[in-house]
Symmetry: C2
């Protein structure tokens, strides 16, 4: 299979926000691709065929995957091992596999348990894009435009398979980068997994206050933005947390130490040190904004 | 002074985002009001007169406040006591005073130290509006439209003065409510002060990682929204934290206990309990959104 996807059979497994947006983006960018999908929800599959996104769908991994050129796994992290076991008997030697999970170590380990090693044509991937919305109904063909996609190939990965997965993401407008698996999981723990946990925890803490209704009534836009990501899919985040627990615990504990320092400054009414900390955070956020200048200001994970 | 502001002299002290937006909104809503201002920055005052917002400005509290009908204190919390001491000798018996601080207990105490008690015509107030931007350059005449303003009058407050302050905020499109001082400070600690602290702490924690540049490079929209409020004015937030430390420490400690529970669930890889917590937070945020349906989705504190 060349890196062109025209005429190729692409199977998307899991038509949620991420898989559904990829299917829609592929349909828009490469009308000649043959886009197939599997999903546990028949109505979702029917809808995606009716709106022109899919050529075909099925609940049968055998018929769907036997002649696939590219399979994209887009179900929650913890379901990937089971998916791979179902597909394994039907994989042709030249089929390329990739996934979209926000955790990469757990995906490599799942593949190792199923195949004995990460197959050279299985190229783990992670589009840094998303939304607090979920499901095919929220899928958008422009979700990946201008976004980063991180691939984590291994030293024995098939370069041709890497080229196919690169072509897939380039086709839908993303910028493709590669990274080491462990490093990916640490960077994402800090930039995505921890902020999601903190938002879930804040909403949960406030909802347990006796004055919950009043608190929600007087919370305004800052709170809304701050907690937007707490509306994200609980199953997806349960899977991410369990799969990347070690890296998340590491950065969470650093954050807890910072909160303890902050509490001590409050107890001491130490205005000077608080001002210094807030000023430092202010400047750091300016650096973050400078790094990301020009990126679309869309919700994403 | 009747509740109408036409022809009345209104003095805004502090032409930052909050005071500047109020002056601009007043100018737009009541062209016949006489709007005066004091600010330590002469260029800002000149700019506000040049753009038509102000009728006059001065650095002299005597000439500015002697014949004021309404004085609005719009400088950071910790500067209010000094402002009141400067103004006190020049206050006419019928002048109404209000403020815009995010903390109300500290304002009442400052007034008690200066006047021996909260003067019956000093009606503390707090518009729940703002932005991570600051300064007169960010001021907008529509900042208060559709927003809530909480007044905290006391039992001996002058009803006519309360009516004047209500009229002020109604004129610029806000919804005016009243609340007990202590309760206000607790509700705001939970809904605004804590989220700001958490955002400052997150940006600060990540900026101390050795891989800071990479972390910022891969952080996307979710992180941007989550930390937007960490770009807020450090002096304002230092003052708020010092002035409302007790209430903030209370809710911060509850949040810290929640994070410790969360860390224990991660350590135990307890997917069931994590799913339950995320689902609960999901539902609570839906309740929050339902409470706030129809409010403009603008940044605010």
């Amino acid at each position: 299979m060349s890196a062109s996807l025209a005429g190729r059979k692409i199977v998307v497994i899991g038509l949620g926000l991420i898989g559904g947006s990829l299917a829609r983006a592929l349909r828009a960018a490469e009308p000649a691709a043959k886009i197939h999908a599997m999903d546990r929800s028949t109505p979702v599959l029917e809808q995606a065929r009716a709106d022109g996104t899919l050529d075909e769908w099925s609940h049968d991994p055998g018929s769907t995957c036997r002649d696939a050129d590219l399979i994209v796994l887009a179900t929650p992290v913890l379901s990937i091992e089971g998916q791979l076991r179902e597909l394994a008997p039907f994989l042709a030697p030249n089929t390329v596999i990739t996934d979209v999970a926000s955790v990469k170590g757990a995906i490599v380990e799942a593949a190792q348990r199923v195949f004995g090693r990460l197959p050279p044509r299985f190229i783990p991937g992670h589009p840094i894009a998303g939304s607090e919305q979920s499901g095919y109904g929220a899928a958008r063909s422009d979700l990946y435009r201008g976004r980063k996609v991180i691939l984590t190939p291994q030293s024995d990965s098939d370069p041709q398979a890497v080229a196919v997965v690169r072509a897939l993401w380039a086709l839908v407008g993303a910028e493709v980068l590669t990274m080491d698996v462990v490093h990916h999981d640490q960077v994402l723990a800090a930039t995505s997994h921890l902020p999601h946990l903190l938002a879930f925890a804040l909403v949960d803490t406030l909802s347990q206050q006796g004055t919950r209704e009043e608190i929600f009534r007087y919370a305004a836009g800052g709170f809304r933005d701050f907690t937007r990501i707490a509306s994200s899919d609980p199953v997806m985040w349960r899977d991410i947390c369990v799969s990347n627990a070690e890296a998340i615990i590491g950065i969470l504990e650093e954050y807890q130490r910072e909160l303890t320092r902050l509490r001590d400054l409050l107890l001491a009414r130490d205005g000077g040190a608080l001002l210094e900390l807030f000023g430092r955070a202010n400047q750091s956020r300016e650096i973050f904004l400078a790094f990301n200048r020009g990126q679309p200001a869309k919700p994403s994970e």
